[in-house]
Subunit: 455 residues, 2 copies
């Protein structure tokens, strides 16, 4: 059999050691913060029944699901007419399961299935890959990680403030200092449609203003007129969308401008309360940007919505979320209010790369390598290697004697910080030479001294 030239599926990636260290640093930092705020880990299966997945992400989402072929003689359940009806129809006959598309629907499914044993409010975080059969392009993959934290079973706005606090702390740990946490409230958007005399057209409003950044106010106005908004409404809206300023200033302007809408006033009240909590947590408010034009696509949000943008980098939007009032309703459990948000690992990876923010200690692999000169040197080194490991120092020996240059190249490529050399002179003294691979500095030391230096 001729050897195959192997490849990997389009839109998927291998993560080698260097990428893994960076990704682990990102995910550990997020995880530590989630835990510090009382969130607990959850993992759900990679595959879900298609009955759980379909119909949850719109028609487009359904088409982007990866479907898993049933095992065994899967065609035996399909009739000839099923095949004639074509791919889309047949897939429902030959596939019962699909790959997870996001972490939200599996979470809702988990909550419903375990409603009897969970303690509410239930605070969970989940960091797992999801799969979408999207056309791959720069920054868009078919397999990628999501890092979600959600609280369900409470409508307390402390949860919203804690999301702000968590984003704040994660970014502080990363050393990202120029970013905005955009925040708005779906009730305010609903209230705007009421206040401008276009009640009930919230979806059209959201779709249009979501494009503000891309196409500008004028084009958005045209679109709204096309979608049946009156000229007067569009003018009123334009005034409202231009409300800007500090959080307090936006609050106070909205209170005046949207006074006619009860829904808007409820949203404004919520936003005021969230702000009070953020202040109570002692968080710096300069990152918080009350942005009336923030809409976010997903339709299940019913309260606060968030979006986090890192400034002065190419892909800025790295996190988002919001409150939903009925996440689990589709699975038969009504009235479960919750709020959650998600970090995009791939985007954070690029941001930290662009800003050169990976700390050196996160990038460390093996700390020290013993050079393997010959059997005598190897025999001398093995017990010392073990001593280092016993002291929690990551250490290895080049597993066979080889040219010095080859061994040093290996250590360099692996980013090893120190090498230890023990030739016959060192062995005679019962010592070893510790070399710092960056400074080039060398010291003749006992193993105890090496431990002291490296620990």
């Amino acid at each position: 059999m001729a050897a195959q030239k192997p490849g990997i599926p389009k839109g998927t990636r291998d993560f080698g050691p260097e990428q893994m260290l960076k990704r682990t640093y990102i995910m550990d930092t997020i995880k530590e913060t989630f835990k510090r705020f009382g969130f607990q880990p959850l993992e759900t299966p990679s595959m879900e029944n298609l009955s759980v997945l379909t119909g949850k992400y719109g028609d487009e989402g359904d088409q982007l699901l990866f479907r898993i072929l049933n095992s065994g003689d899967y065609l035996s359940k399909a009739k000839p007419e099923d095949i004639e009806k074509g791919s889309k129809h047949l897939s429902s006959k030959i596939c019962d399961r699909g790959l997870r598309y996001d972490l939200t629907v599996p979470f809702a499914r988990y909550v419903v299935m375990n409603r009897g044993t969970l303690s509410f409010p239930f605070k969970r975080y989940q960091m797992q890959p999801v799969w979408r059969a999207d056309r791959p392009q720069r920054g868009r993959y078919r397999e990628f990680y999501q890092c979600d934290a959600d609280v369900v079973g409470t409508d307390s706005l402390i949860c919203e403030a804690e999301i702000v606090a968590m984003i704040n702390e994660v970014f502080e740990k990363f050393g990202i200092s120029d970013y905005n946490i955009k925040i708005n409230n779906r009730k305010i958007l609903t209230g705007i449609t009421e206040a401008i005399g276009e009640a009930g057209k919230e979806t059209e409003l959201c779709v249009a203003i979501d494009k503000l950044d891309k196409i500008g106010q004028e084009k958005v106005n045209e679109e709204l007129i096309e979608r049946g908004f009156s000229q007067e409404a569009v003018e009123k809206l334009q005034g409202i969308l231009q409300i800007k300023g500090s959080y307090e200033e936006v609050l106070s302007q909205l209170k005046d401008t949207l006074a006619s809408s009860e829904t808007a006033m409820k949203g404004v009240e919520e936003m005021a309360e969230v702000f009070e909590y953020v202040k109570a947590f002692g968080k710096d408010n300069k990152f918080l940007d009350f942005d009336v034009t923030l809409a976010r696509g997903l339709s299940y949000y019913t309260g606060a919505i968030f979006e986090v943008k890192v400034n002065n980098v190419s892909i800025g939007s790295v996190s988002g979320g919001g409150r939903y009032d009925n996440l689990t309703g589709v699975f038969g459990l009504e009235g479960m209010s919750g709020v959650g948000f998600s970090f995009g690992v791939d985007r954070l990876y690029d941001v930290l790369e662009e800003l050169d923010l990976y700390p050196n200690n996160a990038m460390e692999s093996t700390k020290v390598m013993f050079v393997n000169f010959d059997i005598e040197s190897q025999t001398f080194c093995l017990p010392h290697l073990q001593t280092l490991r016993n002291n929690e120092i990551s250490a290895e020996i080049y597993p066979q004697s080889a040219k010095m240059k080859k061994q040093m190249t290996y250590a360099n490529n692996k980013g090893i910080a120190y090498v230890i050399m023990a030739g016959s002179n060192e062995i005679a003294e019962g010592k070893m030479t510790l070399k710092n691979m960056i400074s080039g500095e060398q010291e003749l030391l006992t193993i105890e001294e090496v431990v002291d230096r490296l620990k």
Copy 2:
């Protein structure tokens, strides 16, 4: 639309908070050990091209692959005769990708694709789920984690000794003290066939003696005769398989018994060298069980083979591995010797459960919860909550005021170690009551004192 009653696919599992804490403890312990020995992380995509996967696991393995239906109009590539030929044939026309079946083949694929940039010897660990369309039963799942560590690009037997050392250290950390690391060598098994005059029948020998534990010596003898072994060979073999004792004793007996086979002598030499290295690492040899009857099914092993058994528990076999000389050959890269092993997370989970070995600190979720009496108490507590978090203490506040009993039940269910209560008396003093949820002990403290107690 009527609400669906959701479920999860057969053979898959959700891991809730308690299970996740235990699993994380297991995987972190293993990961720390891998890293301390100089292994670097790798992750490969969940899906691989079927051309990479098929033909690597035998016919049975091919049937257990989960295949992913191609996106879009997948039937357009299938002709009517493809459909007539049935499920097995059609699947190759409508599926290009499948889910990872193990971590070894993707690792081999990665090494071959990155041969030009990797530094050899390449030491990688990989901890990811794999999928098999097996019939689910107790302890057998369709999605489960493997934790593999492999070195490729060296035939140094130090690597074998390091595997023994790693198993030793992982078990020590777990507090498992009654276990055996069974070790044997494929060259010895080959040598046995030579020594008993049945050269070339290594596969038959391995298949038969793999069943020794289950069916006993007599039945194994019958099977061997059926498979064409002579009566004399079977009798000779029986004597060899009864060789037992300390590592040194087995070594010395094999040296005598198998002297006629060069291959066996090479295997014996290797085993002696591995043993020397294990001793050089200062490892206790009492766990090391040189077991001539250990065969291990997988046919790609060519040198040392391992299997780890925890004694006096229901499912004892938790780890295994061995040396292979040509893992990457199938992808066109010849002569890459390597050695690796794998921990089974699910089995270790059950073993630690059965032996009650999970440490308390690994099971801790939130350390402290603030009880939420009313708005006044909440307002008082929020800044203190933040102070605890600033001190790396995981803390939360019950997000709304609710009956005391409800809040305490929540804290109990979540395994929270302490609660803080601040009613009007405490607030007047600027202090709070810290209650130990296990001892019931209560103290009136300032926030600084709370930090001191909990840090």
